[in-house]
Symmetry: C2
Subunit: 454 residues, 2 copies
């Protein structure tokens, strides 16, 4: 199934207003044709994360390919006091603005570490600046959720995890995108039907407590469900009494997929329910557990050998509750202007940036962050390495078609599988992965810092 | 400016898949015409919240008014294994499905407490069930952010707070809605231009670090900004050295609005910068502070008498970082079927619900949660009270036009102003507001619980 288009409503105007005032300023200052390079990265990982799993590139590219202001949007901007003195030529420029730049990025599903760029934009200054907010929100959010999903999936030790969080996501649209990102992070599917439709991701779900309550008895509700869904039937057994519910489900025999626990002590209940099902000869029926789960609780249930086959994880996954945002930033690292090329640096307290466009070279046990112009002989003679940033858009057009979510999910799984156990642990300690700065990049930083007095 | 339409893409299918399997089940079971009443509420407030500020009703109503499955969406559903045995008549029904029910709700900007319904839906069972996920995500998210905003605004003690969080929001669309909700919660405006366009909310912002860095010197960047923005100019002064930046800004004199600090010890820097500005005769220029702020840090800065005039709050506000979700639920409380009216109850461990449609009566110092059929003589003779739930949609149509965001913001401010200081404190302790259960509602619960054995 092809991926239907994303909504285009308000994409160009969905940006921080200062991107637009700066655009006017660059236009007036004659800097519109300066060519800027920006990088998107996190300065530090959240304190409870050992890596971040990159996701959201597909939506970022879709945005760039379709960037365009409507007449109504430009008419709105003209009404704002900040644009009172702005010349009409600026708005004419804005009406014709498209993204004409180059985009380099790591693949969706790539684990990254502090300071490593998710993507690099090289474009006329106005274009490169204007897209900052949307790119940060798109990449930052999906990477947050993909990372959380990877942790939850790892805790489940091979048992399937299904994303159930749309109802608690930060808006319905965030729910769709969270489900997409969770799939890339390793979930088996989602409860969100829209995500299934847009991206071809498997959807799951059978019935809620209200289903059970809408019938005169639990047994009547179960019978009706089985007639409807046959082998897909999952009985939600905790509406009244979980063990009674399990006995009623077992009394109906096959066909069924299994039962779902949604409250109480999941570990103890799972054991008791397993016995009830087995005594009824339903050894092959499954137990799904849901209810405010996260990677820590799942790890505890697995450690206690709870006989749970599938986990449904909602709120904590779709909001990444223990790390609900990533400190993604988008920083100017190079500027080609009439007078030549410059490497701007920011020296703010605790917010220094490394100048210059970069490439990430990944070795078996560490990364090297280097200047993009440096040539590391990946695989030739010495240690094998891989250059993680790849060309995605050239001159505003797609360089090659992007991987599907299925491919991104597989790539994430393979990439995570090559990380050491310290990286994949749910808990953080010493930095779990080494990122070296190349000598050339170090030299550039030192040179530029000394000359940066203004 | 009229509010442009919301995006309609994928709204009907943006739901948990089990809503659709249940719809098929209700259809097959001949329950499509049963009339159900569902309520949306939180069982418990987050541990660090004393109230929740209701928001998102406008988007919920927009969704209900436009609910409709497209042909492509129905074709997708037919491909799913769970619908393998479903009769075509179900999909024909789905193609014609619209929301035809009634909606009662509290106004946007109403402070609520545990157990009090944000909204009540009364509709044919299939319709009422299908909309669960979207309503939860819409009301839950915007109420989360409006609540956070109310806390941040209160901490600022009358100084303006501007929402700056789109870049860290859970997707660009969540950023737009977060800014809307933050405005209802009391923010003065937002940096999100799209939110300004859609809802007529004031937008703010001037220039970023990349603006400063794109010029050969900080002074050149400041001069250019002043030429562009005149009295709207805010100099971001921490790119290189904050106090040097303040002196450069001061050297340019008027016109200017003020300066912005974005890093370092904001309290100490604000005092030093204030002195620099005052010595230059710029007593009326303002200081804005930004940089990972939240209500706790702002309260501390205010307590220390930091001379900060305006706060910009981003990540922590747009994600409600210390309480990133609300435990909103949507529960079946009444069912009118061929055999009469029933009051379903759920007895799951720790997840009991009160049966029956409800009304909230608000008195000066407490609420009464009553059956919707009860008549409290608000204002007649005894203590004055207000019924918070009002009819919003009748038979699928709008009962009356909804308040604007400006009206919702004013209503929130007035409503919060009537709460006691214990409710408005940033810190939680004893329950800060009493919610009594009416005798009739108590009787119904007791009656139904006894008879609920199945």
């Amino acid at each position: 199934m092809p991926e239907p288009d994303q909504p285009k409503f308000g994409a160009a105007l969905n940006t921080d207003f200062y991107e637009l005032t700066m655009a006017a300023g660059y236009f007036e200052a004659g800097k519109a044709q300066d060519r800027a390079t920006f990088e998107l990265f996190v300065r530090r990982l959240p304190w409870n994360r050992n890596f971040v799993l990159a996701a959201g590139l597909t939506q970022a590219v879709d945005y760039l390919l379709n960037l365009k202001f409507t007449g109504a949007e430009i008419a709105y901007l003209k009404t704002l006091p900040q644009f009172e003195h702005t010349r009409p030529e600026f708005f004419d420029m804005l009406a014709g603005l498209r993204f004409t730049g180059d985009l380099f990025a790591v693949r969706e599903g790539t684990p990254l570490f502090a300071g490593e760029p998710f993507l690099t934009v090289r474009a006329p200054l106005i274009e490169a600046q204007l897209i900052e907010t949307y790119l940060l929100a798109t990449i930052g959010f999906q990477s947050t959720i993909a990372t959380k999903a990877a942790r939850v999936v790892r805790a489940a030790l091979g048992h399937a995890v299904v994303e159930f969080g749309t109802r608690r996501a930060h808006s319905p649209e965030a729910g769709v995108l969270a489900a997409r990102a969770a799939y890339i992070g390793g979930c088996a599917g989602t409860s969100n039907a829209e995500t299934g439709f847009r991206y071809g991701i498997p959807v799951f779900g059978t019935a809620a407590h209200s289903w059970v309550m809408s019938f005169p008895s639990e047994l009547a509700a179960f019978e009706r469900l089985q007639q409807l869904l046959g082998e897909s039937t999952i009985y939600l057994i905790d509406t009244y009494d979980t063990l009674e519910g399990a006995r009623r489900a077992a009394s109906l025999g096959r066909p069924l997929w299994g039962v779902r626990l949604d409250s109480g002590n999941l570990g103890e209940l799972a054991s008791a329910v397993r016995r009830i099902l087995n005594e009824a000869g339903l050894e092959d029926s499954k137990i799904m557990a849901t209810g405010d789960l996260n990677e820590y609780k799942i790890q505890e249930l697995m450690a206690a050998r709870a006989p749970i086959d599938v986990f449904g994880v909602g709120t904590e996954l779709a909001t990444s509750a223990d790390a609900p945002s990533l400190g993604v930033v988008y920083k100017l690292v190079e500027l080609e202007e009439a007078g030549g090329r410059r490497y701007p640096v920011k020296l703010s307290h605790d917010k220094q940036t490394l100048p210059g466009a970069k490439q990430i070279f990944r070795y078996a046990d560490h990364d090297v962050l280097a200047r993009s112009s440096e040539c590391y002989s990946c695989g030739e003679g010495g240690a094998v390495c891989e250059a993680l940033q790849r060309p995605v858009m050239i001159g505003g057009g797609l360089a090659e078609s992007l991987p599907t979510v299925v491919e991104a999910r597989r790539f994430a799984s393979e990439s995570l599988g090559r990380l050491p156990a310290t990286c994949l642990s749910l808990f953080t300690g010493e930095p779990a992965w080494r990122v070296d700065i190349s000598p050339e990049l170090t030299t550039l930083y030192e040179t530029v810092s000394k000359g940066a007095a203004v």
